[in-house]
Symmetry: D2
């Protein structure tokens, strides 16, 4: 990390002394001073070496005399994709399914579990189309305390049994409290572990660090973490690193749109242009959530739903996983029914996904072709 001081900072000024005092107090940090004396201006910089990962730009920027702060150390120690020969894997396996920056899995399913009938209908159709993953919401965080909050632990046994019956291997399931991990583990045990679960951290809990630490400490389940509302991509990736820093490296990062009226008439501002960015900065597989990003079933004049269009945008840029809401009877869904796709649309959806994934693979092959230098 480099601190660039204001022009002409004098080494004997009080502010400079305060700065030096503050730096000397930092545990595990040393620094060296560099001065560049010009005819009109003298530039001073301090090079911080050591445990600088614990310092934030904001904190350092606020120190007296400091004009700018530059971090040169490497971020996201465990999950990051570091320069110069970082050949750590960008994939993991769970319950017989491999998740990597090179795979693609569709997690079509129910935003909220509402009845065994809905669950079974969903899983049966998925199985019929060769799918082994799904999403099933049991714990639902809601803006209003007076809204339906999901059936919770109560529905887990039948969800897991039906999954096993229909060959589903991984269910993405949001949790909002550490106790939910135990409830899920217990329900799996009771039902004979017929399926697997990928724990999902929602956007409202992206910086619920205590939850991240608890989930990071267990390694039974992989974790999907969604990007947070109103924070930068860097801050959300740091949140993912909380999971890994506690030991769980089976982490998928999910883009789900940012909340701002600049995205209107979509429910959120779709952020899938960050798919290649997350793949470049980290080794996490990248998931997209088109249902919550778009939030409507509106279609373009070409007859394609906006939800399908943004899915295609994610995949054509290399997305590895799709979390998408379906419902046998959207009119009866308890949560977010209106944005759900219909069961009858699943074959079209899967065909569309396959078609675009094929285009992505051709694009990657095109990029890999040797070509003349610039």
């Amino acid at each position: 990390m480099i601190l660039i001081l204001e022009p002409n900072t004098h080494p004997e000024s009080t502010d400079y002394q305060i700065l030096v005092g503050q730096l000397e107090r930092l545990p595990g940090i040393q620094f060296r001073v560099h001065r560049e004396v010009g005819t009109e201006v003298t530039l001073t910089e301090l090079y911080l070496i050591g445990n600088t990962g614990t310092l934030t730009i904001d904190e350092m920027q606020a120190l007296p005399c400091v004009e700018k702060v530059v971090r040169v150390s490497e971020a996201y120690r465990v999950l990051g994709r570091h320069k110069q020969g970082d050949d750590r894997p960008a994939s993991f396996e769970y319950n017989g399914v491999r998740f990597g920056q090179d795979t693609l899995h569709v997690f079509a399913g129910l935003c909220a579990v509402d009845s065994p009938e809905s669950v079974e209908t969903m899983m049966k159709v998925l199985a019929a189309h060769g799918q082994v993953c799904t999403r099933m919401g049991a714990y639902k965080p809601r803006t209003s305390p007076y809204a339906f909050q999901g059936f919770g632990a109560k529905c887990l046994p039948y969800v897991f049994e039906l999954a096993g019956k229909h060959g589903i291997r991984v269910i993405a399931m949001e949790i909002t409290h550490e106790s939910h991990v135990d409830e899920i583990r217990d329900a799996l045990r009771q039902t004979g572990s017929p399926t697997g679960v990928m724990l999902q951290i929602g956007t409202r809990n992206t910086q619920n660090f205590e939850l991240l630490k608890q989930v990071g400490k267990q390694q039974d389940f992989p974790v999907l973490i969604k990007r947070g509302f109103g924070i930068t991509l860097d801050e959300s990736l740091n949140a993912a690193e909380y999971l890994a820093s506690e030991g769980n490296r089976k982490v998928v990062f999910c883009l789900r749109g940012m909340k701002t009226n600049m995205g209107d008439p979509h429910r959120n501002f779709v952020d899938f242009a960050h798919v290649p960015v997350v793949k470049r900065l980290t080794r996490m597989p990248v998931c997209i959530d088109p249902s919550h990003s778009v939030g409507t079933r509106a279609a373009a004049p070409d007859g394609v739903l906006d939800i399908f269009h943004v899915v295609a945008q994610g995949i054509v840029a290399g997305a590895n996983m799709i979390l998408v809401d379906f419902h046998p009877e959207p009119a009866k869904a308890l949560v977010d029914g209106p944005q759900a796709l219909l069961m009858s649309e699943l074959p079209w959806f899967l065909d569309d996904v396959a078609l675009v994934r094929d285009a992505y693979e051709k694009r990657a092959a095109l990029a890999a072709r040797p070509r003349a230098a610039a």
Copy 2:
């Protein structure tokens, strides 16, 4: 709640049938249909009556045929300031201190507890200036998992004892997990309850609903909840309502700036224009946090620090509480030192606050004077 349908929606269209099906399924909701037939256009509206507090605008907006949704029921049932004769109190008392929409309390203190010496210095100076409230951070949520996270339960006994010794009656203290409430309760009991604690929910946990529910279930401690990053004011007020809906109505709402580069060079976009808004919409006392909003010690050409200026802006519009970082030796602070005010600045700060509070009271008196109608 009113659903306004798209112009010329036909009552026999499939979409309309789906809409009706969805509405009939909603528990505890009835609806009536109103049609306005014009020469060019037929307008249809559905009036939803009953438990509409559980429905969100977004969900309803996404239903087929729906062009717009209007909520006419009253929000924030418990904490809201409702129309037509809502004379429920806008204040509460805790440990001998009254907090209301008509009071003003300064909570100057340490962003993060770092040593008994700092704590004692702080409290001694506060006592010398007649203050009975302070802020003390024991549990610190940090963006990076590798940063200092506060001394936690370990520092509580000496913090509480020193508070008692110096006559401090209420300490605002952030918690990030429900277990912290027990740790605080235990430490208070062990030390003979020499002081009181106002639990603080930070901006990263504003929508950590499980934490809100747990904290809302206890009534030993009042709660200060900060506005969330990246969500609307309405959503943050709904989060406060989570506390009240579980039983705890001793809630203070804190403005702390919104995270966006539009606020640069301040750390956050200061949002204290919302002080009168929160007082109008709810009966909660309103706190301001100038330290995190501004994030620097920069001063205007008039010699007044930006932090002082935004405090004045909050107070002159009726703010009821100030959470502000001080530190005996900012150069040695472990967290956010550079934005901390100096002990030597406390008298100036308190004089400035008193001066502006006086202006606010004169403004309120001016508003209360009878004047000729428009």
Copy 3:
């Protein structure tokens, strides 16, 4: 337009009288009152009929007693895609090239013209690859008044001559003042009209209504208008309507990312998920500008540049035009060199575009296939 009043608004209250007075004063507007009396609440609504296109939601919302305002009339009168049998064309022809919601044209070229050599190199390569469109910046708006502002009228003659020589039929060229239209017209005349020009309104001038009116009054040149910084999509589409309301309906709408740090590390927050939205709301062809959206030449681990990825995202969702920066020697470009693609990358770029356009067409065909109802 419907005004929904606050619950229990009394028809004899002063506020209601003011509201009625205000409405009666509106030129060309009539209104009818509808009251819905319930057991607990009386709902009142006013239906405004007539020239409501001149009223804004904000203005009406601010009237006394008004709780919500709903517009049911149709927006973007000329350019909009209206319901119920709006079969006006969604395309136009200019200088032998057809631009529609069903075509795709690449406008690769120089962000800023810097020398006849650069221009000729660019056009020669374009011609060699069968391209008939390009972008050439002569007038450059810059944040700082001290930065290079483009060569202006001076470079037009050689740009046009070289275009003619290499068979370029349409050059997209930003203008920042109405006089630039005359300069362009003059330079074309002088050089014998060897090519055509599509006038470009940049993001800083999206709401420069006087410029829009002047450009809308001429019909010699089609116009590309970029989405504005910091305003909603609706407001930008209204700006496009300014052009059409003055008579020029040959308008292309260009998405170029929104300015917010939520898009970091991209220069802007890429907004190409709005491609299908603009096509649904209006009949304008939709252009994407990947160079300014992304702002860097960074690549994903798959070897594909982010710029290529976002281009693919736009095309796969049906974009009709691409404005993209190339430069023979980015190291010598006077403006935005570092985001420019290299001449040697043009074949790859065009192959990638063709590959994804092909996928889009297959997707559209898939959507058009008859399928069973839900």
Copy 4:
């Protein structure tokens, strides 16, 4: 300006060579290389000297190998408040009225001129309360092309004559095209120059650089420039510098809120915490526009309108000018009537302003008192 390169950038790499080529091409720029070799990492920096004011951070950041860019030169050359003994004045005089960072003027008036009667009523009341400034909108930029756009040049003669009759010395008046300056100059001449005009650049034209250049070239009228939508404060201050760089240094900077739904239920997100920031960074007097920021007449439980509250917030932090909408009959106003204050509220408004200005002056005096060092 300093370019900090990526760690371990090798001086013989192709990227580095491209970087050096690009830099050598920059006109009027020299650079020196500094390398800091550590055990694990080698840091390289390039110091750019010369005409760096023409370079933008974004452009430099996008160069190959560049990790960060730091500007150490001084921004806003003419209008900026530079370090180390910049004792240029922070005020100017126009038509007998002095505008400075130490004065306060109220510009109460009509958002849009609608009739000679309204104008005269307004001016008569202002005169009766000792005011010599007002605002009068003749040219109104509107989101929709179909909305009322102001009476333009037609109303100028009677506006100026009435101003002269009632002793008004300065009228703030928005212009949206350079020709409006001539129209205003002509109308003043015709009517015998009975008053003065401060030209106003609205938020939609903040980066309409051609208009800024034209307005900056004349020195007959001072200019008020409003902060732009969706751009950073730095970019808006650069826009103001456009005026000064052309010769007109009589510039006032106006805060008017930022457009984002994070400011709801206010019309814009009030940004008056930037009052001291603009005074610190530049020597411009700072104006606040509460009417457009807040956009409603809602009041807090203390009976004070939000508009009054945000005015107080601006003044208590040192604002120098207030642009505020009044109307004799808001119910008949053609633009933004509902946010207008009533004539009967003017005495209260002025009393409130005086009361808070008095508090500000006491605060400044408090800050100027000698106090013990930290």
